[in-house]
Amino acid sequence: MKYFYYPGCSLEGTAQEYDASTRAVMRALGAELVAVADWTCCGASAGEAVSHLLSLALPARNLALAEQSAIDADMLVPCSACYLNLKKVEEHTRRDGTLLATINEVLAEEGLSCTNTVKVRHLLDVLARDIGARTVQAKVVRPLTGVTIAPYYGCQCLRPYEVFDDPQQPTSMEPLIEALGATVLPWQMGAQCCGAGLMTTKKETALERVSVLLQAARGADCIATVCPMCQMNLDSYQAKISRMNAENLAVSVLYLPQLMGLAFGLPEKTLKLHLNFAYAQSLKGKMSALRHAAEAQQTAVGSEQ
């Protein structure tokens, strides 16, 4: 299995742990990631707010770069905002016959052109449909027994384009979490918005969104995320929101591939767990107990032989 890999700006900076764990887990699962050489920003939410054409030309540039390399592969995108922007190129040009030509007129400035032959895929889509829970389960050496996980999907990997899951009541993460030996928290908030970019421009409103999510996640050891923006919003303001609510709402927030990596027995350092703000005591404690149990079992097996 081979994929072009588009990490996007966040995964080079504030979401390094998402990048590291995605690469490590995909390697463990036998998938090869081919870097898109010289990739540039997809425009994030700013592109669309300023120029419609720019918001399509920026992602299209990256699709054109991938096409240039003449490898037949889909493009794997872990960031939901990047995913949607890249996906929009395909969707908008299909609706509007002249749009692709206009985009290519812009790309021609750099000698590039996009023909829409590279399919854009979200990481969760690839994990759920290409790889599947059964393959994931086969890699588990340290099941996350007794760990309760709230699957959090956010918005832009689900909507507006219905690709791999129900856009309102998503479930694609559940078999993957169960394959890790963990328990899925039953909750209704998996597809609700974290406030996204409003955390920068309309902070009070975004804090309110996160507050609702953290309250609904009571009882979970961990929230599993698949987007750097969701992760950042859920992860970074827990102390403030706990103060607002006069209740301790601290909960671990890990990227799904970090949780997979833990169950695969990959070192915490490889998964860059030290970079998560919210890797809380409850989960840390359970993880080290599981590790000790696994080691004790190994010793026991060793002494029997």
Partner: protein, 187 residues
């Protein structure tokens, strides 16, 4: 709106009317408002805003903060029984407000513009440089305080690098941006 072109005065299409065209089938059912987690913070609900757009109430629309509070969750777009592209229309209103200089929301506008300028310069976002420029553009010494705790936390984790912004470099994506402006100016 009448504008001067090479071929003399010319009736330019009203950009607000173009947005109105896309949502003209709105039947005021309110599903969008009911789907919007941020509607409580808005001065007009999404349903009300779409009515105002249909009526072309430009002053009221751009005095409102409703569209700045859209976080692009796409729930309204998904659920609108008329299948209208509502999230895109929210973005189009942001674009129009910025383009026409109707910057009721200085923070949002400056952030988007600074962000895209950062991308033009470096091709990728350099977070430290972005935030530095964003605060400079706001010219408000108090605003950065809102970010400081997170900024410091990120730096401690080594997630923000302390690069000094290069003010004079030619941008990596200059050609692409120039062409976008040219093509958009044509239409």
């Amino acid at each position: 709106m009448t504008v001067q072109t090479q071929n003399g005065p010319h009736e330019a299409p009203d950009p607000l009317a173009a947005i109105g065209e896309n949502i003209k089938a709105c039947m005021q059912c309110g599903t969008c408002t009911g789907s919007c987690a941020n509607s409580g913070a808005m001065d007009y609900t999404p349903r009300e805003l779409w009515r105002m757009v249909q009526l072309g109430l430009s002053d009221e629309i751009f005095a409102s903060k409703t569209f700045w509070l859209c976080s692009s969750c796409y729930f309204c777009t998904l659920r609108c029984p008329r299948g209208l592209p509502l999230t895109e229309a929210m973005a189009a209103l942001k674009r129009l407000a910025i383009a026409q200089g109707k910057w009721k929301e200085k923070k949002s506008t400056k952030f988007y513009l600074t962000f895209l300028d950062n991308v033009r310069r470096y091709g990728r976002v350099r977070e430290m440089d972005l935030m530095t420029r964003y605060f400079l553009s706001l010219k408000n010494p108090l605003t950065p305080m809102g970010f400081t705790p997170l900024g410091v936390k990120l730096m401690v984790k080594g997630k923000l690098s302390m690069q000094l912004p290069n003010l004079f470099s030619a941008g990596k994506l200059d050609a692409l941006y120039r062409k976008v402006r040219e093509v958009e100016g044509r239409s």
